[in-house]
């Protein structure tokens, strides 16, 4: 990175919050601070919802995921459009009609206080950990590659978000997120164009995609019913539906985004915008990874993308082993490049043999990377994150022109800031409205609650930074957020679906059903290896099945649903 990159980076990440602070200047009422105001339109809501979900991991890890395993991950989003339609039709009208600040207030209205507190508590636990990972994920990669100090990177990204989120509340979160999302989309489009432009001049884009497809990188849709196949249409459509329904219907960080406009129409249009654009957006991010994969078939990649870890191993006396592997890797690279040209030039009769040869070489390259990783582990420089997380950032730093490098680092930091701001805003709001107001100060003034919400938002910011500082155990950044969400979301969703659709259940039955479901998911997570998307379904189903049973047995004489 040179001076131009730093100018672009600093200008981009500072200009948006400063503009947001200017737009939201002046004191806000409790309603304005927690829900924004009627000036927020569907486009802002749509971009804000998109930015809350995307996060830095999407842009940092997803191209690396496609580089390593192909673009099949796209199928995880196949359940989302239907889930968003259900949220539009069922959840949003109820939240808007009751004029709630948090989704969990509705649980209090429908059931009782303990069920509301349980839903809010499960949300707080998982969202606080997820916010810590959101700050940590880009910080570990950027600090390693750019030589920044890890804690300083965490505090810079987290500190700036705390300041503007505390001052401006929901409205500033929505405004800054929409501009941050525009920067992200423009940055990623430029990265895509540069990656295509930098592909081998000897091979057309179509031939490049054709070879990438034959190397297993472009299988976007797989209708296999084999449970051992990780990403399929079915697991994405069914498991992904429950994950998305829980996330958009019961996670306050999203609920607060689409309730920001104050009108049912604006909320619904913002969500439907996401139903249409999410899959194409993820497809292009994954395709970018596949194109980077093809770029590195003609331009020699590092033998191991996490270069800082590799260099530490060299310094620790493992140079002979690593140099031997590097020599083998260099030879293999040349052979592979020739094999790709052979595939491209082969007649239909010769193509199968050429492909077999290419696949063999590809398998050998994978084996060499595994051996390199083993040497790094032996050298005591065990990398704390997946190698694939370093693929896209390495491509940016080594292949992009100056200025664009700064913009793309800004993209990653904008994504961090937007996702973290939404999380802190929701954590502060939920603590203020669901815990502080009913349990500690029930009859204070609105101004008092605004001050309390600001203090609690700041406090959660420091908690998230604290978690980020100790999050080094997380290896797979891309999956960590989804796994964490899937563990908690099923039972939270079960609470809401029971509230909407099972009339006869009361608070105590559904409360203990959710506790049972959450325990069941914890046990399954600890003892089995089923795909994590299924936890959403299992947790939700456990609540919906056990709540009526508990109602008919232990809580038969319980009163009708109580209000707050």
């Amino acid at each position: 990175m040179n001076r131009l990159d730093y100018v672009v980076l600093i200008a981009t990440i500072l200009a948006i919050p400063l503009y947001g602070l200017w737009r939201t200047r002046g004191s806000a009422s409790l309603g304005q601070y927690l829900k924004g105001d009627a000036s927020i339109r569907w486009a802002t809501i749509g971009l804000s919802v998109l930015a809350t979900q995307a996060g830095p991991i999407t842009f940092l890890s997803m191209p690396g995921q496609a580089y390593e395993s192909g673009i099949g991950f796209i199928q995880n989003y196949f359940g989302q459009p239907l889930a968003l339609v259900v949220v539009c039709a069922v959840f949003v009208p109820i939240f808007q009609r009751l004029k709630v600040y948090t989704a969990y207030q509705y649980l209090g209205e429908r059931f009782d206080r303990k069920t509301r507190l349980l839903g809010a508590f499960l949300f707080l636990v998982q969202r606080a950990i997820a916010a810590g990972i959101t700050i940590y994920a880009p910080a570990i990669v950027l600090s390693a590659l750019l030589g920044w100090r890890l804690n300083l990177t965490i505090w810079l990204a987290g500190g700036l978000v705390i300041i503007y989120t505390v001052i401006g509340g929901t409205k500033i979160v929505s405004i800054t997120q929409s501009y941050q999302m525009i920067v992200i989309l423009v940055g990623m489009a430029i990265a895509f164009a540069v990656a295509v432009y930098r592909l081998s001049p000897n091979l057309s884009l179509e031939s490049t995609l054709s070879v990438a497809g034959k190397m297993g990188k472009l299988e976007a849709v797989n209708f296999s019913v084999d449970p051992h196949t990780r990403y399929t249409f079915w697991s994405g459509a069914i498991g992904g539906f429950f994950l998305a329904l829980s996330y958009f219907g019961a996670d306050q960080s999203q609920v607060q985004r689409y309730l920001a406009g104050g009108s049912l129409k604006e909320s619904r249009l913002g969500l439907l915008f996401n139903a249409v654009v999410k899959v194409p957006m993820q497809f292009f991010i994954l395709l970018l990874g596949a194109i980077i994969f093809m770029f590195y078939q003609f331009e020699k990649p590092p033998v191991y993308f996490n270069q800082p870890a590799y260099e530490r191993a060299l310094e620790n006396g493992y140079a002979p082993q690593l140099m031997a592997l590097q020599t083998q890797f260099d030879n293999l690279f040349t052979q592979k490049r020739d094999a790709i040209r052979a595939v491209s030039d082969a007649s239909p009769n010769e193509r199968d043999a050429a492909m077999t040869r290419l696949r063999e070489l590809q398998a050998q390259a994978g084996e060499l990377r595994n051996r390199t990783r083993a040497v790094l582990t032996q050298a005591g420089v065990d990398p704390k994150s997946k190698e694939s997380d370093y693929v896209f950032i390495t491509f940016i730093l080594q292949q992009m022109p100056h200025g664009i490098v700064g913009l793309l680092i800004a993209v990653i930091l904008c994504a961090t800031m937007s996702a973290t701001a939404a999380a802190l805003n929701a954590l502060g709001t939920t603590t203020a409205i669901d815990f502080y107001r009913p349990l500690i100060r029930p009859n204070a003034s609105n101004h008092h609650y605004v001050v309390a919400a600001k203090g609690l938002t700041a406090a959660w910011g420091f908690v998230a930074i604290g978690i980020a500082s100790f999050a080094s155990l997380v290896e797979n950044l891309l999956e960590a957020g989804n796994i964490l969400g899937s563990i908690f979301y099923g039972s939270i969703l079960g609470l809401f679906l029971a509230a909407f659709f099972i009339r006869q259940v009361t608070g105590s039955a559904v409360f203990f059903a959710a506790l049972f479901a959450q325990t069941l998911v914890f046990v399954l997570f600890a003892t089995t290896s089923i795909g994590y998307l299924w936890y959403n379904f299992i947790g939700c189903a456990a609540v919906l099945i056990s709540a009526p049973i508990l109602q008919q047995t232990l809580f038969r004489s319980a009163d009708a649903p109580a209000g707050e």
Partner: protein, 39 residues
């Protein structure tokens, strides 16, 4: 009058949901064709 307006509103939103899901179905179909073409 209000009921008629309410019913019209429900129908409009149903059309909007149908449109969103139809566009998604087209997206999946295009992705499948992409898979067939390049895999």
């Amino acid at each position: 009058m209000n009921e008629r307006h309410g019913n019209g509103d429900v129908r409009s939103w149903r059309k909007a949901y149908g449109l969103a899901l139809s566009l998604f179905a087209v997206e999946v179909m295009l992705l499948y064709l992409f898979t067939l073409r390049f895999s």
